[in-house]
Amino acid sequence: MASIPPKPENPLHLHTTKLTLGCPILDSFLGGGIPCGSITELVGESSAGKTQLCLQLLLSSLLPPSLGGLSSPSLYIYSEPPFPLRRLLRLSLPSLPPRPLDHIFVRPAHSADDLLSLLSHLPDSLPVRLIIIDSIAALFRSEFDNTPRDLKSRSSLFFKIATKLKDRARKLGAAVVVTNHVVDVVEAECGGARCLWSSGRRVVPALGLAWSHCVNTRVFLTRSEGMVRSSNGEECEVRTRRMHVVFSPCSPERSCEFAIVGHGVLGVG
């Protein structure tokens, strides 16, 4: 039985397609947009803007490549029902095709095994070029204790899920976006993870070190509140939202302010 030897690729022909976030400031901040062919994680506390960004990506992926889109449908897998339909309906982008909702596939996932099964049974003919999992953390909340054995099997599931996602990302030239929650840090040492401040709490991404090895890009969304003295001498409360690149293969660590306004997420430059 003759086996086919593996063939190397020439990096000169390996252009990374990027999906626009719908805002030129945010695109530039992320080195062009969300890369296809790898996993980008959006991590932050509740209401940090993760789902909002995901919904925006569902629409921007329908744009033509000339506008930074992928001209393709997307798959949105949600683990915390219900699917945020109302918020999606409030979003809009110029140059969208008619009936954009027809091009968005939506599936619930109830557990990590459920997600794995869902990913394994996706038909190859499904032409999605954006897969979103919102959120990965909710799939692991109650199933595992902290025994070494459970942590090991949980860790093994992380790598299985990541492998399936990266496989799809590569075969379909798809962007994969996964949202994750945060947990508080109590010790002085954060261990392997860099911690950030959000809403006055020192936090690290949930799911630990093993999961952090499964994503290629980690973007941390934070919120902070402070008092600012305005020009007429009055003190007013200012809420700042920031997006931080924690690690990325195509962009240095940096942060950028953003805002959530009625029609979407915008960078503040």
């Binding site: 593996p6 990096p11 890369p35 994503v215």
Partner: protein
């Protein structure tokens, strides 16, 4: 004859300080493991080495080609291009050459084309490719570095039988060591970290278990010290342990620019 002289040369990491604790850079005929947390710079260092191995012999390099085995999908060609451009410019700056003297074959495009890139999606693919390398290297004798980024990813699932995993890893590391010696090239393996519970608390340790730690000639651990990146030479047959501050810049891996950089000998 040239091959023997080539093999005595080291592959620069891009940071003179890091090169110096490594005894000049990454060595041929040896397997070097590089471990660290996500984002510390393993892939960046891997790409830098895949570029720097190509620095021409006349400019102090090996003039070799690279094999880059990507198991995680973090290799970005655009970043490799950026690193190549900077490395070529810095090399020529060091030798006092004017830009217009750079020959066509030493443009960044050529450097990218000299990287044999393999994307691996399972551990069986990984083993199959490593088994195939012997034949590939016979046909491509100018390859002077094989990078696997990371060697770990596909081994952190599907192995309920840890003894089997240890055997498979052992066989793989033996093959890689043999390739390094037979073809006088360097093998660089990126590894992940995990937490191990010993003596009542959790410690960060390299993945793949205790038996794996014997598989490499040299081991370098990349770690954070506050907001600074450090490299620690943890294992070497003849060099003392030492740590050094380095940085990841737009140009690639470089010396740390802060005034308080230091090389600390242990």
């Amino acid at each position: 004859m040239l091959s023997e002289e080539q093999a005595l040369r080291h592959i620069s990491t891009g940071s003179g300080d890091l090169d110096s604790i490594l005894g000049g850079g990454i060595h041929c005929k040896e397997v070097t493991e590089i471990g660290g947390v996500p984002g510390i710079g393993k892939t960046q260092l891997g790409i830098q080495l895949a570029i720097n191995v190509q620095i021409p012999y006349d400019f102090g390099g090996l003039g070799g080609k690279a094999i880059y085995i990507d198991t995680e999908g973090s290799f970005m060609a655009e970043r490799a291009y950026q690193i190549a451009e900077a490395s070529i410019l810095d090399t020529f700056d060091n030798f006092g050459c004017q830009l217009k003297e750079i020959p066509e074959k030493l443009k960044a495009e050529s450097f990218l084309a000299n990287i044999f890139y393999f994307r691996i999606c399972s551990y069986t693919e990984q083993i199959a490719l490593i088994n195939y390398l012997d034949q590939f290297l016979v046909e491509h004798k100018d390859v002077k570095i094989v990078i696997i980024d990371s060697v770990t990813f596909h081994f952190r699932q599907d192995f309920d039988d840890l003894a089997l995993r240890t055997r498979v890893l052992g066989g793989m590391s033996q093959k890689l060591m043999n390739l390094a010696k037979k073809f006088s090239l360097s093998v660089v393996l990126m590894n992940q970290v995990t937490t191990k519970f010993t003596e009542g608390s959790f410690h960060l340790t390299l993945a793949l278990g205790d038996s794996w730690s014997h598989s490499c000639t040299n081991r370098v651990i990349l770690y954070w010290n506050g907001n600074d990146r450090y490299a620690y030479l943890d294992k070497s047959p003849y060099l003392r342990p030492a740590s050094v501050h380095f940085s990841v810049t737009g140009k690639g891996i470089r010396d740390a620019t802060s005034q308080c950089k230091r090389v600390r000998m242990m």
